[in-house]
Symmetry: C2
Subunit: 324 residues, 2 copies
């Protein structure tokens, strides 16, 4: 198998352990339209060198895909280019491992959804987290009965964001970039599908980052009358112990699961009150993608990536429409 990387603006490195473990040929790297420096390619090359990879550096991603004809393209450019590049690769029969959101407009998302020439997996890494996996397992075991409501939190440190976060032309917004994780994990954890959304965002006090959203909330209805909510913000103080404060609570008819500070807990009468759920083994999101390609798993499907992106975009557009 042969793999290439386009851009290094997000989480392309999620694939590196798997590439090494499977001796996949890491044959090329390029930027998207923004260029080598803007997309972090230099730092990525240093990291890749340390890992023993020596991909050929291309000026143009299309040229690279034509020349290398890889089995997989990692797509990790500026966020508003994910869709265009992913679609081009898919249409040329190249499987795509792409950072979220997989597209930032509905037209491209539809085209990705409809293209049957190759597979796509998105970097929803919470699905591999030991505590989230423990929650998923307990839900599947029926330990909370029927899921009725979920609420999620994504709170990040702002730090110094790259320039492209400052503009909607290049940055997709906090809902498709941050809240989308929770949108994905709530569908994954519950097995339900979204049916409607209402959302709010704010750009005020965003640390001088142009028109970047810095806080948002979204509230969804799901199949079977399930309620799902998420808040996302970039106000987590620099002195906090972790970059992110990822949380989810899943309220069921017979128990409540909560993931917080990297641990899952369950309250239920069967459990006799509050207990900690043992961690599941950490997964690897790229391995899940490879399993999907090999037909060994239907976990990290294109359908789920399309759906999570669709509802993130719906929420974003709904929130934007309030801003006028």
């Amino acid at each position: 198998m042969k793999i290439v990387q386009i851009g290094a603006a997000g989480h392309a490195f999620y694939a590196y352990n798997g590439i090494k473990a499977h001796n996949i040929d890491f044959s090329g790297i390029s930027a998207g339209s923004a260029g080598i420096e803007a997309e972090g390619i230099s730092q990525a090359l240093e990291r890749l060198k340390k890992l023993g990879f020596s991909p050929k550096l291309y000026d143009d991603w299309r040229e690279m895909l034509d020349a290398e004809k890889p089995d997989i393209a990692i797509v990790d450019c500026w966020f508003n280019e994910h869709g265009k590049i992913a679609l081009w690769a898919l249409e040329h029969g190249i499987n795509v491992f792409v950072d979220k959101p997989i597209a930032t407009d509905f037209e491209t998302l539809d085209a990705i959804s409809e293209c049957g020439k190759a597979q796509l997996g998105a970097m929803f890494d919470a699905r591999c987290n030991p505590a989230f996996k423990a929650a998923k397992k307990a839900i599947e075991q029926g330990r909370i009965g029927e899921v009725r409501m979920m609420d999620s939190r994504k709170s990040y440190k702002l730090g110094k964001r790259p320039e492209f976060y400052r503009s909607r032309e290049t940055y997709c917004g906090i809902i498709p970039w941050v809240a989308i994780h929770a949108i994905d994990w709530m569908a994954w954890l519950s097995g339900e599908k979204y049916t409607d959304v209402s959302a709010i965002l704010s750009r005020r006090e965003n640390g001088g980052n142009g028109d970047m959203d810095i806080a948002a909330a979204a509230q969804f209805t799901m199949t079977n009358d399930v309620i799902a909510t998420v808040t996302a913000d970039m106000y987590r103080p620099a002195s906090a112990k972790t970059h992110g404060d990822d949380r989810v609570r899943v309220v069921g008819t017979r128990g409540i699961i909560e993931v917080m500070s990297g641990k899952a807990t369950l309250i239920s009468d069967e459990a006799g009150g509050l207990i900690e759920l043992p961690d599941e083994p950490a997964g690897d999101i790229f391995e899940d993608f490879l399993d999907n390609l090999a037909g060994k798993s239907n976990h990290l499907t294109k359908e789920s990536a399309v759906s999570s992106t669709y509802w993130a975009l719906r929420a974003d557009r709904q929130a934007l429409s309030r801003l006028g």
Copy 2:
């Protein structure tokens, strides 16, 4: 001072310590329209006897108010009668200490808002909670900078609910009865005012309680672009250590406060990371009401009770409209 009680369906007992401490004459008690048994008057009389009170039992609340001419009427009947009885008392110059919501329709709420003949305070007891007071103090001290987002949780044990919860005719719904606490405390904590709301509720899997809502979410915009959200449910397992799981997180530009399990914490760079905020002394919501009547405080105002009720009703109606 003389006080009477109408109904004992909710939290009238919040007033009992204050009545005793101030030697207020507890002269009468009656039910609202639902009657002695349905409104828990018998149990209330037993409790009052133990406390050394011996109010005269009246068959009719209007007759009692006419005969006793009290300074204060505690209104704690079936929830959908709060507004009618509170308004009657106010219009007769009697101050009202009423359980939330203070009304369940906009017309009565408007009339209460406009009546200038007496004062009203509502039983928003979180304002007296040591951890919530610690959060309020830290916000006022500027320790989190400017408030940008808040999210709240109200999760209760279902237990065996009285019959009147089964019908919208007699029970106002989970948003005006439960989520309203968070609606009130988020306005109180932030000092902001609500400007819009979107909400969802579900009645599915409600333990056989007729058309009682059992889960809800509401999402508000506030002045200064502040985002505020709340979820409310009655799925907390019986084996949980406390009846309720009250939480609030207040995200500011320079820090984040979280109240959880009866403790307030702060994360901020000034604090050097995560610290626990010391409890403030517990308050007494009835004492706050007395202070307001005496002109010594403007904490528990009619205006705030009207506003919290208004936004709870707005949220409820918005959620109901989705049910079709």
